[in-house]
Amino acid sequence: MQYYVPFLMVAFILFAVGAIGVLVRRNFFVVLMSLEIMINSAGLVFVILSYFSGTISGQVFFIFVAAVAASETAVGLAIAVLMYRVRHTVDVTEFSIMKR
């Protein structure tokens, strides 16, 4: 077994746990947090591969990923606030106005 494998395993486990959070939780904020974890795990993969292949680009990409994640969170929170104002709930199963 190559010794980068444990690192990747950790990243993937984080990804899967985050995915579970996104898929099963009803609280919009928890969903957002889980999403953060997924994104972070993806960034982690960049950093891991950057280390093992000896190029720094992966770390640069983590910065990009972090920036995108930050903006995504910001917009997500804004939407949450908006939804709360309109529906008085943050339950994702209640957000179904896309189809009447």
Partner: protein
């Protein structure tokens, strides 16, 4: 000389442009302007005709009209004996009719428009006659058809007039299909449409093709010259103003078919079958149209049927191969038929538009001069010597017999009798007997500007035949002249005593006049007329109802055509089949969308499930690939 010729042809077009564009300002002077340009044209025609009589030919291409591949169609004019004769007839008669129209149309709405159209017509007609190739001829051919359309529909606010114009155009267009096919065959076989390219090598045509070409061209002529299957538009065309009827539907345009056949003489000479068809249709039409003229009461319609009948004679002439006789009759007919129409117009003018002869009678006291010219013209058409109609008709019948068509000759003689009868029936009905004019109408003689052309044409009707038709120095002048271009096509079959033929035709004519006199003038005439009608009731009804040809055409072609188009092709094929099919394709897409829509629950976590499931599937697929 060729530029003189061009000027002669273009002069009416200039008149048309001036009257057409500036009609608002030329209003009162429009008639004079139109006539002036026609006068110029006529004046220029005189030296040209003399030039042609001297035996010269002008054939000049002014510019290349269409060049495509190996086909080169020039815009060119040709002056030879045939077209010189037409040039003379057309410019002279139109000049006369233009002058007449100044008086006749005076005060009508759209005075300038009328003269613009009339000038345009003459231009197109000259193009038809002078063109040196089939396509230039075709421009004129269609051009006169179009002018006929707008002039028939001149009183366009009357629905009948508008309908008649359309009927005329469409019917002649049906004929033009044949003409077009003829030209197409000519292009296919000769690669050119110029007369000078075609006729010298006409003999290369296989006889079958020659017959097809001649029949196709003749089908065009039946449309334009109102021959048997397609004559129906001409009587309706009488809705137009009378000068138009005189010019277009009697003297010039309708004879274009005859001219065209005579022009194509080298082709017809190759096909005895085609020529025989021309002659037979001509003879049949002559007889058939005469039967319809026998019982009519409408002044102009009688003349219309008589025109059809007379063109039938010309067709006999050109069909039997004696082109000069047909052309000769064309010329004399132009004079006396124009005269007939114009005097009918004068009557109509006097009667404030009434054309029904049952409301006339005894008009000879009111309008003696009109009566006189009408009688002259009627004598001419009845074939009484020494008036012009006698010579031309006699030559046609004589040649028909001598070239071996006795049945056609017989039909011709019978028709001559009928012609004399119905013409004089008309004269007696209108001008003699007791006055049946409705109260309040005061018929009066026409103004001088109308009478002068009448008398000029009357003189023409008297002398033209004698000048050109009497044998001098061993040959008949017109025969000699026309045969320069279109010589007699077939050899003589019978030798017949000419004086016997002359006597027979005179007897037929006189008999016809006598019968008409007996039927209308004596006191006891009405009684024996009603006996006659009762005895021959079916025959009378057939004639009176014009053999129901219009009705048959209507039921057979027009209405089914319309109904199939509307009820079936549009409403069913287009809307229900094709368009609905297209919409159904769209609907299928819509249904597919509806099916997929079930997946779209609207809950965002459901979408998250689908996204992740998709990711899973993509990953799995990729794994399968690399394994």
């Amino acid at each position: 000389m060729e530029w003189l010729l061009l000027l002669c042809v273009l002069s009416p077009a200039v008149g048309c442009i001036i009257n057409g564009l500036f009609g608002r300002w030329t209003y009162r002077a429009a008639g004079v302007i139109g006539s002036t340009f026609l006068g110029i044209s006529f004046a220029l025609a005189i030296p040209l005709i003399i030039y042609a009589i001297q035996g010269h030919i002008i054939d000049y291409d002014y510019y290349h009209w269409i060049i495509s591949g190996k086909l080169d169609v020039p815009f060119g004019l040709r002056l030879d004996s045939l077209s010189a004769m037409m040039l003379g007839v057309v410019t002279f008669v139109s000049f006369m009719i233009h002058i007449y129209s100044i008086g006749y149309m005076g005060g009508h709405k759209g005075y300038a428009r009328f003269f613009a159209y009339l000038n345009l017509f003459v231009f197109a007609m000259l193009l038809l006659c002078m063109g040196n190739n089939y396509l230039t001829l075709f421009i004129g051919w269609e051009g006169v058809g179009f002018c006929s359309y707008i002039l028939i529909g001149y009183y366009y606010e009357k629905k009948t007039a508008a309908d008649a114009g359309r009927k005329a155009f469409v019917t002649t267009r049906i004929g033009d299909v044949g003409f077009t096919i003829g030209i197409l065959f000519i292009i296919l076989y000769f690669g050119s449409v110029k007369f000078t390219d075609i006729f010298p090598q006409a003999h290369i045509l296989p006889p079958m093709i020659a017959t097809i070409i001649t029949l196709a061209l003749f089908f065009g002529a039946t449309g334009k010259s109102a021959q048997f299957p397609l004559y129906v538009w001409l009587p309706d065309a009488m809705e137009g103003p009378t000068p138009v009827s005189a010019l277009i539907h009697a003297a010039t345009m309708v004879t274009a078919g005859v001219y065209m056949v005579a022009r194509s003489a080298p082709l017809y000479a190759l096909s005895p079958t085609g020529s025989l068809v021309v002659a037979s249709i001509g003879a049949f039409t002559a007889f058939f149209a005469a039967t319809m003229a026998l019982t009519h009461f409408d002044l102009k319609r009688i003349l219309a049927y008589s025109t059809i009948s007379q063109i039938g004679y010309m067709m006999i002439g050109v069909g039997v191969g004696a082109y000069w006789t047909g052309m000769f009759h064309l010329m004399t007919h132009a004079f006396f038929k124009a005269l007939l129409f114009l005097s009918a117009g004068a009557v109509m003018h006097a009667m404030h538009g009434i054309l029904d002869m049952r409301l006339m009678g005894g008009l000879r006291h009111k309008m003696p001069q009109t009566c006189a010219v009408m009688i002259i013209a009627s004598l001419a058409i009845a074939g009484i010597p020494p008036l012009s109609g006698f010579f031309s008709k006699d030559h046609i019948l004589g040649e028909a017999l001598m070239l071996g068509h006795p049945i056609i000759w017989m039909v011709g003689v019978i028709t001559a009798f009928m012609t004399a009868y119905y013409m004089f029936r008309m004269v007696f009905f209108t001008f003699f007997g007791e006055s049946r004019v409705p109260e309040g109408l005061h018929p009066h003689e026409a103004p001088n500007v109308m009478l002068v052309p009448l008398w000029v044409l009357a003189v023409g009707s008297i002398v033209v035949g004698a000048i050109f038709g009497i044998k001098m120095h061993g040959h008949i002048p017109i025969e000699h002249f026309i045969s320069l271009t279109s010589p007699v096509a077939f050899p003589k079959v019978y030798e017949v005593n000419e004086s016997l033929l002359i006597i027979i035709s005179i007897v037929a004519g006189v008999l016809g006049i006598a019968v008409a006199w007996l039927s209308y003038i004596p006191k006891w005439a009405p009684k024996w007329r009603s006996w006659f009608v009762r005895t021959f009731h079916p025959l009378y009804r057939c004639c009176f109802n014009l053999w129901w040809v219009d009705e048959v055409y209507n039921c057979l072609f027009c209405r089914p055509f319309w109904h199939v188009s509307e009820r079936f092709l549009w409403k069913v094929v287009d809307d229900k089949l094709i368009d609905a099919g297209v919409d159904d394709v769209g609907r299928i897409a819509g249904l597919a969308g509806k099916a997929v829509r079930i997946l779209q629950t609207g809950f965002i976590n459901n979408y998250a499930y689908w996204v992740s499931a998709g990711a899973l599937i993509v990953c799995g697929w990729y794994l399968l690939k690399i394994m």
